[in-house]
Amino acid sequence: MLKFEKRENIPLHLRILIPLISILLGVLIGGIAVMFSQVNPLTVYKAIFIGAFGSTYVFSETIVVAIPLLLISVGLILVFKMNYWNIGAYGQYIMGAIFCTYFALNSAETMSRPILLMMMCIAGMVGGALWALIPAALKAYWKVNEVITTLLLNYIALYILKFLMYGPWRNPRSFGFPLTKIFDLNAQLPKLISHTRIHLGLIFGIIAAIIIWIIIKKTKFGYEIRVIGENEIAARYAGINIAKNIILAMIISGGLAGLAGMAQISGIIHMLQIEINPDYGYTAIIVAWLSGLNALTAMIVSFFLGGLFAGASQIQITMKVPIGIVGLIESSILFFLLGGAILTNYKLYYKGRKII
């Protein structure tokens, strides 16, 4: 009785209306949950909104969160288009951070700032790319399921980070805390806007989104990726080299996740430590989906989710609501957004009557 039919193209009003309604529903359900903890949901939501967009400063914090989400998600979009499920951005992000830290710690005195930063960017991308290359090669040559390999490599990356932080890279003057020394100014990504934490990574993210969009829509590489993703047998029939494409796309995807890790520690944290927010690697999966695997849309989605997270972390501080509630609001909104995304891609019929 309920029937879904894939849409050929998505009308603009639906593209805007569906997410809006989904957010409202998510807010509603989240609000009911908030009421259970004896807090007025309206004040909570107001606080989130103000916490995300209410002042120049919090607004800039929203962008700070959006940067890694954008960098990672556009890379994921590339491989997701190919039906390759890279859920290892978490680990690739960590490896990017580790690789670039090597230069931050060892070359800060000998290199000028632009050269050092360039080296760190390259190192970050190489780190992420190498980490992505392992599951890519396993899939390309031995057909090993990437969901398992990318996921397991996340844990390995985390333990490598822990090993370094408790071992060779721990700063002797950090009183036993697992931290490196604070990076020299030479090794810090410059700020784009003073008095905020917005850094050069924003430009990286926007450029990456545009490049990925062009790759998918305009290049032969993107065409091959879409053919593989839509019908692998036809791709083989057409003589497309599937192994080569998996490896190349994963190098780019992992490289961007690595760059996100680099940008985060060089632009925000200014040192390597155990907590460097690799969870962005998972959140970016949601960004990729919500943007309908469109790299330009990912810019907007990253910004919105950045706001949600920045705002939510604000209320935790200002309103002293339990952290679980914050998570609940976040997830109920995400839940409805993802559910609504089905309706942007499919028409819904009930007893043959078109509903939406």
């Binding site: 290049t219 032969k220 065409y223 053919v227 019908n231 036809a234 029939y237 057409a238 497309i240």
Partner: protein, 514 residues
């Protein structure tokens, strides 16, 4: 003849860029087989999908036994006693016949009374001579048997009106005969059948009445007894259709394809080719006849590199290409028209343009450095569309919205335009209307005259006899007979296909001159 059970009045259905049904009137009587005929893209499938509730018409009415009905889903169609068997079967491979039959039934409740259902299936199966075991798994069944499972499904649900969209396109002539017997049995039980086919001889054999559509419009409904096959073709295409093709004398040139002791597995890991040997020179059409499942598709796949050979060798123009990748083999000038258009030959969700360039995107002028030149791609696509007369309402819409025959034409156009040295064509005219079939056959003959070596794999003996220069018969993974077209005898070939009769010529394989 019986009373009118179904009447369609002024039905119109419009898709972006095309009016698929334009005020169609049509009626069906109790106990009749009513054939729907029309060129590729004429709107037959669309009209049937409307009856089955898959599409809802923009305009018009449907009456069942004189009462107006509103069919908005296949479920409501079932409730109204209408069952449709689509050209692509809707069965779950890993489940049994019984499980497939109950799948989607509403009134079963939580607990399945398997025994009772199995009894009922057996009863239906016996009543109509369907010969189906309710506990067999779908993947174990032949195409013809799977189709009969679809028939059981609709009968189980109480269908009184049965719609069959090109059921014989995938059947061997023998299987088609079995199907016709079943259909005749069904009309005796007062069922009514709407039948779609492009094969005029079987249309003449089985129908009571025939309705012809052209470009979405109704041309007319005629009584089978009052019309001849030729007139029917003219009604459909709007011009005379040749049922005979003139052939130039053969001019063979150097060996293009050579197969030596080839062996391979099928998808289930069972050996399906057991030592195939033949050689094919340029300028010849070699027709390979055989009942499906005897290894012919696997043979094609091994040659083009989509399946690994476990023994033996393949040479193209003297060079060994055994187990090379498809790209390398294509580079040798091999092109392939696969049997399954949507699974192998096309990417359903990409546009017509993106599908048309599948062979060329990597070459100038469509390739421009690392970029694709979409203008050139569209230009090239339009050339194909024009040259092969493909009906494409919108070239940037997903290709899966083309009609069955037009999908086939697109693949043919794309592969032939590559000007191959070796063309492997599996059922090239499957699902094509008479006009398009004639066009394709002519095109294949033209290619042959240009010196292309063509391996034509088909179950359609008539087609094989019409255009091949030599016919081989494949049976249980071996070539059991080979005859020159001038010595070909349709009965003898038929017997060899059934494995009854062996060609004495084949005792010493080398004797067969190419």
């Amino acid at each position: 003849m019986g009373a009118i059970v179904l009447q369609v009045k002024n039905i119109s259905k419009h898709f972006p860029g095309v009016l698929a049904n334009d005020h169609i009137n049509f009626d069906l009587r109790k106990g009749e087989i009513h054939t729907l005929l029309g060129e590729n893209g004429a709107g037959k499938t669309t009209l049937m999908n409307i009856l089955d509730g898959i599409y809802y018409p923009d305009e018009g009415e449907i009456y069942l036994n004189g009462k107006k009905v509103d069919i908005r889903s296949p479920f409501e169609a079932t409730k109204n006693g209408i069952g449709m068997i689509h050209q692509h079967f809707m069965l779950v491979d890993t489940l049994t016949v019984l499980e497939n039959v109950v799948l989607g039934l509403e009134s079963q409740g939580f607990y399945l009374n398997k025994k009772k259902i199995a009894e009922r299936i057996k009863e239906i199966s016996q009543n109509y001579n369907l010969n189906i075991n309710p506990y067999a798994k779908i993947w174990q069944l032949s195409v013809g048997e799977q189709q009969r499972v679809e028939i059981i499904k609709t009968l189980f649900r109480g269908a009184k009106i049965l719609i069959m969209d090109e059921p014989t396109a995938v059947l061997t002539p023998q299987e088609a005969d079995t199907l016709f017997k079943i259909l005749r049995r069904m009309i005796k039980e007062d069922k009514s059948i709407i039948f779609i086919s492009h094969k005029l001889d079987e249309v003449m054999k089985i129908s009571d009445r025939i309705t012809v559509l052209r470009k979405g419009k109704l041309v007319g409904t005629v009584d089978k007894k009052e019309i001849k096959q030729k007139e029917l073709a003219k009604m459909m295409v709007g011009r005379e259709v040749l049922f005979r093709l003139d052939r130039n004398p053969i001019r063979r040139k150097g060996e293009v394809l050579k197969i030596e002791d080839l062996e391979t597995h099928n998808d289930k890991g069972i050996i399906i080719l057991r030592g195939i040997n033949f050689s094919l020179p340029g300028g010849e059409i070699f027709g390979l006849a055989g009942v499906s499942g005897n290894g012919q598709t696997e043979l094609a796949e091994v040659i083009v590199g989509l399946r690994r050979a476990i023994a033996g060798k393949v040479y193209i123009k003297g060079e060994e290409v055994t187990n090379l990748c498809p790209k390398a083999i294509t580079k040798e000038g091999t092109n392939y028209i696969p049997p399954d258009r949507l699974k192998v030959g096309l990417v359903p969700n990409l546009s017509t343009v993106e599908n048309a360039i599948l062979r060329r995107y990597d070459r100038e002028p469509i390739s421009r450095g690392i970029f694709l030149n979409y203008e050139e791609a569209a230009k090239y696509t339009r050339e194909l569309i024009k040259q092969f007369n493909i009906m494409v309402p919108r070239e940037n819409a997903p290709v899966k919205f083309l009609s069955g025959g037009n999908l086939q034409k697109l693949i043919l156009a794309r592969e032939i335009r590559e000007e191959p040295a070796l063309l492997i064509a599996v059922h090239p005219s499957r699902g094509l209307d008479v006009g398009a079939t004639e066009f394709v056959r002519k095109k294949l003959l033209e290619e042959r005259d240009q010196g292309v070596a063509i391996l034509l794999i088909s179950e359609d003996l008539e087609e094989l006899l019409m255009i091949s220069d030599r016919i081989g018969v494949i049976y249980e993974g071996k070539i059991v007979g080979m005859v020159d077209i001038d010595d070909a005898n349709i009965n003898e070939i038929g017997l060899m296909m059934a494995g009854v009769h062996k060609n004495p010529l084949l005792k010493g394989e080398e004797n067969v001159k190419v």
